[in-house]
Structure formats: structure tokens, C-alpha cells
């Protein structure tokens, strides 16, 4: 008899895998709260370390807003990067436990469906974290002159950046799950790979936080191109990763 997964078709496999990942995360949602809280704490630590108090007092309103926008963008993406390390470690772990990935492969699920389902589930989790992070950054870093339009633009930029973190994170977490000392290894492998993306995302976000039009489109192009490039490479190589 044909396995059920074979009959489901790629899109069916993909939706079932995403549902599986999300329901696993939901059942263990306390751990997700930990990631959210940790990211918020990172915002607070940075806000204390070099927050609005360190912006020179003599600046005019616009200049002060510009300085705060720089801080806000930098802290938002730093907090997300640290939060992503913990979130990814957990999602990689779940697939390794009790040989779950082996079982999924045996059911005849295509590697492409596995890779894209991982990207989408990581994307959804990180977006949930960002939904908590963005208001915190706006309030604590006092970038309060952002309009609703700016928040919508920021959501767009965040979606692009998160897309990149997810495409890289999906295969890095699969890769490091089998290594010794995987928690710390994941961070040293993941962070350098996402740094180009974080730089681009931060540069673009500074303009958005400052309520300005995007000044340098090269960073925006990198923000769009990097996820596509890494998704392409990831797609080509994910099959090899699953063989181990």
C-alpha cells in the first residue's frame, strides 16, 4: 500500500508538515514564551546599556528622532537574532527526537516540502516574537513619532528579514542538531551567516524608524536577494542534509 504521505502530493505534505511543526510548538508553548521574554530582556539590556539617555540632550527634535531610530533599528534586529538562536535550537531538536525526521523521510515526504515547511514554521514563530518586540522597541527606545504607515512599512521590512533568517535557520538547525554542544554551535554557525542580512535589515529599518523614505536601495536589494540566494542554495543542498 502506498504511504499516506506519498498520496498527499507536495502541497499536501507541506501543509501537514507546517501544521505538525506549529502544533508541536503550541503544545510546548511555555518554551516559546521563554524565547519571547528573552528577546524582550535583550531590548531592555540594550536600552539600559545605550538607550535614549545616551542621546545628547542638546539635539533638535528631528535630530533626536534620527538618533533614536538608529538605536531602535539596531536593538530590534539584535534582539531578534538572539531570540532566533533559541527558537531555532528548539525546532531542530523536535525533529531529531525519537528519529522523527527519519520517520518523515521513510513516509516518502519530499525534501523540498520538508525544507519549505521548516522555513514557514520558523517564519511564523519569529513573526510572533517580532509582534511583541516591535511595540517594546517603539516604547522603550522612545521612537514614538512613528506613524501607522511607518509601522506597516516596518512590518514589511521585518517580514523580508525574517524570511532570510528562516531560510538560513531551517538548514543550519538541521545541520547542528547532530553535533556535540549543539546549543552553542548553532549560534556560532548561524550568526555569521545572518550578519549580512542583519546589516541590510538594520540599515533599511533606520530609515523606517526615522519616518524617512528608504535612502539606500542597495541595502534593500541585499535584503531581498540574500533570502532568495540562501533559499536556492538551501533547496539544492537540503536533500543531502537529510540523508544523515
Amino acid at each position: 500500500m502506498e504511504p499516506q504521505a506519498m498520496r498527499a502530493g507536495r502541497s499536501g505534505q507541506f501543509t501537514r508538515l507546517v501544521a505538525k511543526d506549529l502544533s508541536l510548538q503550541w503544545r510546548n508553548r511555555e518554551a516559546l514564551y521563554v524565547v519571547g521574554l528573552f528577546s524582550l530582556l535583550v531590548v531592555l539590556v540594550f536600552a539600559f546599556a545605550y538607550g535614549p539617555e545616551f542621546v545628547p540632550p542638546g539635539l533638535g527634535r528631528a535630530a533626536r528622532h534620527g538618533e533614536l531610530a538608529k538605536l531602535g533599528a539596531a536593538i530590534f534586529w539584535s534582539a531578534l537574532a538572539f531570540g532566533a538562536v533559541i527558537a531555532l535550537h528548539r525546532s531542530g531538536e523536535a525533529d531529531r527526537e525519537f528519529g522523527a525526521m527519519g520517520a518523515i523521510r521513510l513516509a516518502g515526504v519530499s525534501p523540498t516540502a520538508i525544507y519549505f515547511s521548516r522555513i514557514v514554521s520558523i517564519f511564523i514563530i519569529l513573526t510572533a516574537i517580532e509582534a511583541a518586540l516591535l511595540p517594546a522597541v517603539i516604547v522603550f527606545l522612545q521612537v514614538e513619532s512613528m506613524t501607522a504607515m511607518d509601522v506597516a512599512r516596518m512590518a514589511g521590512v521585518a517580514a523580508l528579514g525574517t524570511c532570510g533568517v528562516s531560510t538560513i535557520g531551517a538548514f543550519v538547525s538541521t545541520m547542528t542538531a547532530s553535533a556535540r554542544g549543539k546549543e552553542s554551535l548553532l549560534s556560532v554557525v548561524l550568526l555569521p551567516l545572518v550578519v549580512p542580512l542583519l546589516i541590510a535589515a538594520t540599515k533599511v529599518s533606520v530609515d523606517v524608524f526615522a519616518s524617512r523614505p528608504i535612502s539606500d536601495w542597495r541595502w534593500f536589494s541585499l535584503l531581498v536577494a540574500y533570502p532568495m540566494l540562501t533559499a536556492g542554495v538551501g533547496l539544492a543542498l537540503f536533500d543531502s542534509l537529510l540523508e544523515e
Binding site: 545541520m175 554557525v189 540566494l229 538551501g234 543542498l237
Partner: protein, 229 residues
């Protein structure tokens, strides 16, 4: 036997190139007017940068070969090439910092080439750490994939000046407007560095293969003892 003879010849060629290169760099090439003695750093900087690009390209290429053919030697060469490339990347960064201190009065500057170079160095540090914490087929497959993924950063470093522009670094170019003696110094320095790269990679790959064999024997022995017990 043949391998060690090739390594011996390579060692001799490398030593010869290093001696001739050093003579050109320190004796024949004139002292540059503006930078004075510190300009000598340039010969090491360019040579190491070129060899580093070659090393990381070889790592990615052998990663692909491993994924297609599953030949452990290909993985050993990829890993060895990355470790030598990483040392060269460190040389590029350090000599760059010496130059920066002298030319711009600062050890570090967050311009595109320096930033991307640091990220590249960190990526391959992650690659080497990853190799040291995994074993067997998983290590070979995953590090091959990692070597290919990290290679994405190499063109970014190479083209960073053209993409973002910099007032400090010249764009990487193949035609140089240099004094002839300086030009040959640079050429010989690069050749010496490349020869050292080939030799070190071969030796490191041999050590890697030997380590894997010892690992396999140790496991065999352990299982053998288990069976007897």
C-alpha cells in the same frame, strides 16, 4: 611513497619561493615614499588574500565533489583547504589592521571590505568548529554543505567595494600601476603564499585521513571487545 615525494618537492619549491620572494620584498623592492617600511605589509596582504580566495573556492568545489561522489578524500581536502584558508584570512585581517593603523591612524574601520572580511573569517571559524564537533558521515556531508553555503560570502567580500564603495580600499583589480620591482615582489609573494597553501592543504588532508582511519580502528576495537565480552 609517491605522495611524500611530491610533498618533499613541493616543500622545496615553497622554501625557494619564500626565499626569493622575501629577498624581492625586503631587499630589491624600493621603500614606498608615503607609507615607508609599513608598505611591505602589502605583499603579504595581497598574497594571503589571493590564496584565501583560492582556498575557500577549493573548499566549496570539493564539497560539491564529496556530495556527488561520497569520496572521504574530497571532504578531507575541503576541510584542510578551509583551515589553511582561515589562517590566511586571519593574516589578511591582521596585515590589514597594521596598514590601517599606519595609513588612517586606526586599527579598525567599519568599511565594507573590512566588515565583510571579518564576517567571512567568522563564518569559516564556525565551519572549523562544526567540523571539530561532529564525526563520520554526518561531519562529511554537513561540512560539505556548510562549505558551499559559506562560499556565498566570498563574492560579497570580493565585490564589496564595487557594491558599497569605499574611500579607503581600492576595488580589487587585475592590472596594477606599480614600480616593476614592487610588482614582481607582489607576484613572488603571492606565488610563495600559494605554494605554501598547496603544501599545507595536502599535509592537513593527509592528517585528516589518518585521523579518520584511527577513529575507525578505535571503533572496530571497541566493538570487537564488546563482542568478546
Amino acid at each position: 611513497m609517491v605522495r611524500s615525494r611530491i610533498n618533499g618537492v613541493l616543500g622545496l619549491v615553497t622554501a625557494l619561493l619564500v626565499m626569493v620572494g622575501a629577498t624581492f620584498v625586503f631587499v630589491v623592492a624600493p621603500i614606498e615614499v608615503e607609507m615607508r617600511e609599513i608598505q611591505k605589509v602589502f605583499y603579504f596582504h595581497v598574497g594571503a588574500a589571493w590564496s584565501m580566495f583560492v582556498a575557500f573556492t577549493v573548499t566549496a568545489a570539493y564539497g560539491i565533489v564529496y556530495l556527488i561522489r561520497r569520496n572521504p578524500r574530497a571532504d578531507a581536502i575541503a576541510g584542510a583547504s578551509a583551515s589553511v584558508g582561515w589562517v590566511y584570512a586571519a593574516i589578511v585581517l591582521l596585515t590589514g589592521m597594521l596598514w590601517a593603523r599606519s595609513a588612517w591612524n586606526t586599527w579598525w574601520n567599519w568599511e565594507p571590505r573590512l566588515t565583510s572580511m571579518l564576517v567571512l573569517w567568522l563564518m569559516y571559524a564556525g565551519y572549523l568548529l562544526f567540523r571539530s564537533t561532529t564525526r563520520g558521515d554526518a561531519r562529511r556531508t554537513y561540512s560539505s554543505v556548510f562549505g558551499i553555503v559559506a562560499f556565498v560570502m566570498v563574492p560579497i567580500v570580493y565585490y564589496s567595494i564595487r557594491i558599497w564603495g569605499s574611500v579607503l580600499h581600492p576595488a580589487t583589480k587585475t592590472k596594477w600601476n606599480l614600480d616593476n620591482r614592487m610588482y614582481y615582489g607582489m607576484l613572488l609573494g603571492t606565488l610563495a603564499m600559494s605554494a605554501a597553501y598547496v603544501l599545507l592543504t595536502r599535509l592537513r588532508a593527509d592528517v585528516d585521513i589518518a585521523e579518520q582511519e584511527v577513529d575507525a580502528l578505535r571503533q572496530e576495537q571497541m566493538f570487537g571487545e564488546d563482542a568478546e565480552g
